[in-house]
């Protein structure tokens, strides 16, 4: 067995998994705070990335475009809260899930209507080439870009964890996540909290969109990264931010290893389902995912 190749695949898989985690994080945030399985996260990633790249192509400054896109995402979350979430308060989770699928269509149509549907390239200034010193020393090829993406994801998760644990808003978010009615009764404004959470999820979507856009180009296929993030999500547990990261690492590595070592045996193309089967097997042992809250049934 070629060990340096094995480690290259392993590390590459972990870094790819971090990219999945970036998308899964957006799902987790919204599920935690409002109990909504937000299927529109993938469309939000696409919408954010397309808005950003289109502004960039109109000769906006990088940070100005970033701020502008963020503002658009906040506006989007306000509109979503007002038009979709508020009228559907107290409906079953399935209804809310369906509403977010409707939202997905609206977002996909809107973004392509405003910015056109041709694919864009995105350059973040980090080259997607192997690191030379590492390649020379250990014969392992790791891309600069992958490491950069992993670092961004790490910073993002650390910041979110800090915000959740240490700030007043974070405490309110956790209260809402625990119990809507109890949170309301002690005076936490549910509507504002939802706007904040959806805005933060929009921010995460923007970051994820930039990373995925720089890797694969900003195009319609970007909406499908949501499907890549779902196994990560159920593996880690719907309610857990660290779960999204750990789940991403597990899915990323097993998927890459299976693709390289198992794929040729069965004719390739297994990446479309392998992650789901892994997650399914995990769930059979722990039905709530790795870090999800234990499901207790009461009659």
């Amino acid at each position: 067995m070629n060990w340096s190749f094995f480690f290259e695949v392993l590390i590459g898989g972990m870094l790819a998994g971090v990219m999945y985690s970036l998308v899964a994080l957006g799902f987790v945030l919204i599920y935690k705070a409002s109990g909504v399985f937000n299927f529109a996260q993938g469309a939000m990633v696409f919408f954010a990335a397309l808005t950003f790249v289109s502004l960039l192509e109109r000769n906006w400054n990088f940070w100005l475009a970033f701020a502008m896109t963020l503002a658009v995402m906040v506006l989007l979350s306000i509109i979503t809260e007002r038009l979709v979430l508020r009228p559907l308060v107290n409906q079953s989770p399935n209804t809310l899930f369906m509403a977010t699928i409707g939202l997905t269509f609206v977002l996909e149509g809107l973004s392509q209507l405003v910015w056109g549907s041709q694919p864009h390239g995105l350059e973040l200034g980090v080259p997607d080439v192997p690191m030379e010193w590492l390649a020379q020393k250990t014969n392992i090829n790791i891309s600069h870009f992958d490491v950069f993406a992993a670092a961004v994801a790490g910073i993002l998760v650390a910041t979110l964890a800090l915000v959740f644990q240490k700030t007043r808003i974070g405490r309110a978010l956790r209260a809402v996540a625990d119990d809507h009615q109890a949170a309301l009764s002690i005076g936490i404004p549910l509507q504002q909290i939802w706007i904040i959470v959806w805005s933060v999820a929009g921010f995460v979507a923007l970051v994820a969109g930039l990373m995925w856009g720089a890797r694969n180009g900003v195009q319609y296929a970007l909406t499908f990264v949501a499907l890549k993030a779902l196994p990560v999500l159920i593996l880690g547990g719907f309610e857990s931010v660290p779960g999204a990261i750990i789940g991403g690492l597990i899915i990323g590595t097993t998927e890459k290893l299976a693709e390289v070592y198992l794929g040729p045996m069965v004719g390739g193309g297994i990446e479309s389902w392998f992650a789901y089967v892994i997650a399914l097997l995990f769930l059979l042992v722990r039905p709530q995912g790795l870090f999800g809250e234990k499901i207790i049934d009461r009659v």
Binding site: G102, Q112, G269, G289
Partner: protein, 358 residues
């Protein structure tokens, strides 16, 4: 005035348990069936029969299957299209390899195979619940399609991957015209809808609903959870399998994995949510809504561009249609979260008391 129940007495058990207790409902249903079986094939144009009504009926059947699983037994599934694909491919192989079997036995056997696949993917539902289960059923969607794509035996080693289906022949009669295909589809759908209606009123359906409402409580009153959940998966996949076979044989006329992608699963899920979760009628109303809406939107945009002389690019129109489609779904969920079937029920209750509402 016309729609009321006064004077209709039930004097025996059979009358008490019939599907339509009201005489007006029975007459309306008979008229509807007569219209669908006799008038529609006579006056319907080829476009209406083969491009709108046939897919509508087939998708209603698939929605009915999903409704048994999701609406009655409470197990959210995103793998409907995969079960349909199993039905289509197995039917093709039965027709190809056992030609003396005939079409109807082939689709029944294919439905049973789909039920077997459904059983296998229903097993996780014994431990996994809610959205976790929904995502887990995606595994079924991707895995099944991958197998159908990879294993050449299913495709009879066809190089292109797109297979033209055989002609359907029953007792020497070849179903080739759009009207005959429509009638075949309608017959299958009518029989299976009747069977479903009776099933959900009976012991199995009540067990499904008990498990949906609270599975622990259901097991306390003596319903075997494992059997009930697996039965729901099997029956639902059987319906979807038959629907898939019809989809390939009377609508698409080809068998290919591409036709059964995740989009189709989502469309069928939309149908039952818009139509009404846990309602046989809702499956049909939802399917009608989802199949007709894109056509209406396309006609509407055509009409707007013709009357106001606005030049529209094709991409713009399709994007606006997408937005309206999504917006309408959200709108309907807000207006009536229990679906069109609930609206219909409210209308009937109002009609009974009309014109004296108090």
């Amino acid at each position: 005035m016309l729609y009321r129940q006064s004077g209709q007495f039930k004097t025996n058990y059979a009358a008490d348990q019939q599907i339509f207790p009201l005489r007006q409902d029975r007459i309306a249903m008979a008229l509807l069936l007569a219209f669908a079986f006799v008038v529609v094939p006579l006056v319907g144009s080829t476009y209406w029969l083969s491009a709108i009504l046939t897919p509508f009926l087939i998708l209603s059947l698939a929605a009915l299957g999903l409704n048994i699983l999701t609406g009655y037994a409470g197990q959210l599934s995103l793998g409907t299209a995969a079960f349909m694909a199993v039905g289509a491919f197995i039917t093709y192989n039965f027709m190809l390899r056992v030609p003396w079997l005939g079409f109807i036995p082939s689709i029944i056997l294919a439905g049973l195979c789909a039920a077997g696949v459904g059983l296998a993917f229903g097993l996780p539902s014994l431990r996994i619940k809610g959205f976790y289960l929904a995502v887990a059923t995606l595994a079924c969607q991707f895995l099944v399609l991958w197998v159908l794509q990879r294993v050449d035996w299913f495709k009879n080693y066809s190089a292109s991957g797109v297979i033209t289906v055989q002609t359907i022949e029953i007792f020497g009669y070849a179903f080739e015209s759009p009207a005959s295909k429509y009638l075949l589809t309608l017959s299958v759908v009518a029989v299976m809808a009747l069977a479903a209606k009776n099933m959900v009123r009976g012991r199995a359906g009540r067990a499904f609903m008990a498990v949906r409402d609270m599975d622990v409580a259901a097991s306390v009153i003596g319903i075997r959870i494992m059997r009930t959940k697996l039965l729901a998966f099997a029956i639902s996949s059987f319906y979807c399998g038959v629907a898939g076979a019809l989809y390939a044989y009377t609508y698409l006329l080809t068998v290919e994995p591409e036709a059964f992608r995740l989009d189709l699963s989502f469309r069928i899920l939309f149908m039952i949510i818009i139509g009404g979760v846990g309602s046989i009628l809702g499956s049909f109303l939802g399917a009608a809504f989802i199949t007709l809406l894109p056509i209406l939107l396309a006609r509407g945009s055509e009409w707007i561009s013709n009357t106001f002389n606005i030049e529209q690019s094709h991409a713009m129109v399709s994007n606006v249609e997408l937005m309206i489609f999504g917006g309408l779904i959200v709108f309907f969920l807000i207006v009536e979260p229990q679906g069109l079937a609930r609206l219909w029920q409210i209308a009937k209750e109002k009609l009974r008391r009309w014109p004296f509402p108090h």
